[in-house]
């Protein structure tokens, strides 16, 4: 037994402190200011080029027209309905895709023989441009919600699967050895080593697939639908209402951006221990 007399046996070593420089906050503000400036210059140039007929409004619209269109859509109330439908397709497909991708990734990482058998099929499916499956899904599941959910799912599941199985196979062998010698059971190894060490890979896959999920829902709506942002863009295109198309694109950008930001916040929170996060 080691006695309680806790003697410090070493002189303190030069410590790389968590000294988070206050400078980084200011640098962030300055960067943000530059970004806003760049955006303003872009919008003003765009507006002026169209106002002075260098570019035609029919092909590129213009910021003020897009703004008016947004206001109109907002007042008319269609915006929420369309956004709601697209969001619903995105979220449902995404959740199913993540769950299935993680489950398949882990299962195949623990059954290398099954993985070896399935590998060529997975590669073929994965290299198939999945957006091209859209028409097939419409055929199978109709023009409603289900076909879009299927398209989102098919996009998300592969990204998450690939990341999960890569993560599960890249577990540090030394950590596994030390754990086993410290008395870890098979289940301990899975729960205390494999799962947490695969977790960042899963999170990375989840973040990467957000953009694909939104795109899948919108593109699915473009193939055939009665509502949703994709439908709205196609409708705008049909009547040469360029401002409406741009308004749709803007809403998509805001949605994707917001979800990604949320994802990043969650990631920072759950991956506090990662070198790049821990060091700031």
């Amino acid at each position: 037994m080691l006695e309680a007399e806790a003697v410090v046996l070493v002189e303190p070593e030069a410590e790389p402190g968590p000294a988070r420089p206050t400078r980084s906050r200011r640098a962030g503000l300055i960067r943000f200011a530059w970004q806003m400036l760049l955006l303003a210059v872009f919008l003003v140039t765009w507006q002026m080029l169209v106002d002075h007929k260098v570019l035609t409004e029919l092909s590129v619209s213009k910021p003020t027209a897009i703004w008016d269109e947004m206001v109109k859509l907002y007042r008319g109330g269609q915006i929420w309905n369309n956004v709601g439908v697209t969001l619903q397709e995105t979220v449902v497909g995404y959740v199913f895709g993540v769950v299935a991708g993680v489950a398949a990734g882990f299962t195949l990482a623990f059954t290398p023989r099954l993985l070896a058998v399935l590998n060529p099929f997975i590669t073929i499916l994965n290299s198939l441009p999945r957006f091209a499956l859209g028409p097939l899904f419409i055929l199978w599941f109709g023009i409603g919600l289900t076909s879009k959910v299927a398209l989102v799912f098919s996009l998300v599941v592969f990204i998450v699967f690939t990341n999960t199985s890569a993560g599960a196979r890249s577990v540090d062998a030394d950590v596994v050895t030390v754990s086993r010698l410290l008395g870890a059971s098979r289940w301990d190894i899975i729960r205390k080593v494999m799962l947490p060490s695969t977790f960042p890979w899963v999170v990375a896959g989840m973040r990467l697939s957000i953009a694909y999920a939104v795109a899948g829902a919108v593109v699915g709506e473009m193939f055939a639908s009665q509502e949703g942002i994709g439908n709205w863009i196609v409708a705008g295109s049909g009547v040469f209402n360029t401002a409406e198309i741009f308004a749709g694109l803007l809403v998509i950008a805001v949605i994707a951006g917001t979800i990604d930001l949320l994802g990043r916040l969650v990631e920072r929170r759950v991956l506090r221990w990662r070198p790049e996060v821990a060091m700031g």
Binding site: L2, A6, V10, E15, P16, D172, T177, L182, W273, A278
Partner: protein, 283 residues
């Protein structure tokens, strides 16, 4: 998997050897290229509480030998006994320290030190207490809440030392545990380790390619030849204890022993450019 012989009997003093390695050989079958005879007819013993260093050229089968003692590999020939019982699986009284710290990056220092205790079913409050005590002994109180990514390599290895000792291992297998550290940090950790060991007195088998480290720490040095590993000679390190690692170089006997071990190692190494990664039996 745990051994079925896991019930320890610390009172059976009739058996003098803690670890007995008797005529052990192992060959790795290789799909590409010839099979590798990594360890050939190695025999030596480690007494309870003894600190033995194992030196030999790299790729010489030292890690393989540790893996057999810890029960991860099964020897093809010969047998290994711990406390007079044949090793058939992972021994519960044994701890292992690899050269990389092998900490869990998602756990703080505190929770890393608790890890071994947690795996052995020690209750939450008890393991927190033991871990805090160990962390204090390695001088990391201020860093207890930090993650490995926020530590220097010396601090990480101190965490690993604390984790190892927290379990009060009867046997400690160490595979070049300080080799990845810079010279100054290494001496500091060696002293720290020696101090902790003096209080705990587990049986230690330390693999190292650093002759100075072997002399500084061990009671006895087992010199292995290059692959396959065969015991070349055993050198008793009669330098007394406790030792002041920083003053070692002033002891004439230290230099004599150093020269002796170096000569032994020189003989073992074939005269050719040192090849890395082993498997260099013939080329």
């Amino acid at each position: 998997m745990t051994t079925t012989t896991g019930i320890e009997d610390p009172l059976s003093a009739t058996e003098p050897a803690k670890i007995a390695i008797d005529d052990v050989s192992i060959t790795f079958k290789s799909k590409s290229g010839p099979d590798v005879l990594a360890v050939k007819s190695v025999s030596f013993q480690v007494r309870p509480g003894e600190f033995v260093a194992l030196v030999g050229p790299s790729g010489g089968g030292k890690t393989t030998l540790l893996n057999m003692i810890s029960g991860l590999y099964k020897p093809d020939r010969g047998r290994i006994d711990i406390d007079g019982e044949k090793v058939t699986g992972i021994h519960p009284g044994l701890s292992y320290m690899p050269s990389r710290d092998a900490l869990l990056p998602w756990r703080t220092v505190q929770r890393n030190v608790e890890y071994g205790l947690e795996l052995r079913g020690v209750g939450k409050a008890e393991r927190a207490r033991i871990a805090a005590e160990m962390i204090a002994q390695v001088g990391l109180e201020k860093a207890a809440g930090r993650y490995p990514a926020q530590l220097s390599s010396g601090m990480r290895q101190r965490t690993a030392v604390a984790r190892t000792f927290a379990c009060h291992p009867e046997i400690l297998l160490m595979d070049e545990p300080f080799s990845a550290l810079d010279a100054q940090t290494r001496v500091r950790l060696q002293s720290l380790f020696l101090d902790l060991w003096e209080r705990n007195r587990s049986t230690v088998l330390l693999v190292t390619h650093d002759v100075g480290e072997a002399l500084a720490l061990a009671d006895r040095i087992v010199v292995l030849t290059s692959s396959p590993a065969v015991v070349k000679e055993e050198v008793v390190v009669d330098l007394g204890r406790p030792r002041d690692l920083r003053a070692m170089h002033r002891v004439p006997r230290y230099h004599e022993l150093f020269a002796q071990v170096l000569d032994l190692l020189d003989d073992t190494e074939p005269i050719q450019p040192a090849s890395r990664g082993g498997g260099n039996a013939r080329s």
